[in-house]
Amino acid sequence: MPRVKVARKSTAIDMTAMCDVAFLLLTFFILSAKPKTQDPLKAEIPASTSITVVPETDFSTLLISQGKVFFNVEGDDVRRKTLEIMSSKYKIGFTPDEYKTFSGVEYFGVPMASLRQLLDLPSKDRDKITQPGIPVDTTNNNELYDWVHSARLAVKYLHDKDLKIGIKGNSQEEYPTVSKVIATLQKQHVDRFNLITALKSAK
């Protein structure tokens, strides 16, 4: 009896299509990637059921953690303009290099007087030092008021839009710190702001 011989087939698969798909996906992920930004202080944000997405432009975030307040505004051009306005307000001059550094720095939390020192540091060391936070006293020394005000002016000047403000608070932060920040915003008639939260289900 003659055995039926099954033709041996090569086990090599044509990888071309798979390779195409893999690189297509890779390109997509590279282009859509927005690297994770490191916050200067760890803030565990509380969860809520709200699903409004945080805007990516013309947005300023106030990070509140351990009783300190950090400031960030999106967009390199906005940051530069904000610093220009602050510079004329506080009569502190900055070099073109410092402007360039500032436009690339996200969260920062130093008083205006020591901002130059922070900007002159090499970027490696900038992440290492502990920043004292932006002064937010309700009486006279409220630099956060000026930062927010300058950022609002800058956004209005550059993009003709209203700056949206988000508060990114640490869950365990005691309410008075948050209340101080809210009072600062309300002083300049910013009565609408976003509380940045993580998503949770209503259960």
Partner: protein, 179 residues
């Protein structure tokens, strides 16, 4: 697909040494491996779940244009946020009704909010309940967010965050929710 036909120019003149035809098929396995490795890396480093935000609207502090309407106290529920993730609530004026201590879970706060809302709607001809949130200095930011979120879930639009008064602080102290 990835093969090129290189079978041209078969015989050359004379007895020249013929180079062996080689298939131009390249083994793509390693390349695919690399591509997937990079994909994995980018998936892990990107922030896929973008943070969400909850809009909070505070009443304007020195708004003189709108006349503040007097609010019937029987329709207002006050939440006093104290220490240790506990809150106290009462309906009406402070001191006149005994406050109840409660937690923030869905079975505590949400249930109370729904119950009280129904009760007030029934006794006030369908008018909704007004909630006043008063965070004390020892409540956390998370507590405030949770309360606002619960109010969103229960659909209570008439709410406000107001500073706590000394009378209400005393109530919290009495129940050991403020040191």
């Amino acid at each position: 697909m990835a093969e090129l036909d290189t079978s041209g120019g078969g015989k050359q003149k004379g007895g020249k040494v013929r180079t062996k035809k080689k298939a131009t098929r390249v083994d793509l396995t390693a390349m695919v491996d690399l591509a997937f490795l990079l994909i994995t890396f980018f998936i892990l480093t990107t922030t896929l779940n973008k943070p969400k935000s909850m809009e909070l609207i505070m009443p304007d502090k020195d708004d003189q244009t709108h006349i503040q309407e007097p609010v019937p106290e029987t329709r207002t529920m006050t939440l006093l946020l104290g220490a240790n993730d506990k809150l106290e609530w009462f309906v009406g004026q402070p001191g006149k009704t005994t406050p109840q201590v409660e937690g923030y879970g869905p079975n505590d706060l949400r249930k109370t909010l729904v119950e009280q809302n129904e009760k007030i709607k029934a006794s006030h001809g369908g008018q909704p309940m007004i909630v006043i949130v008063k965070p004390s200095a020892q409540s956390t930011y998370k507590n405030v967010v949770t309360v606002m979120d619960e109010l969103n879930i229960v659909n209570i639009d008439q709410r406000a965050i107001v500073d706590i008064t000394p009378v209400e602080l005393d109530l919290l102290k009495r129940d050991n929710l403020f040191k």
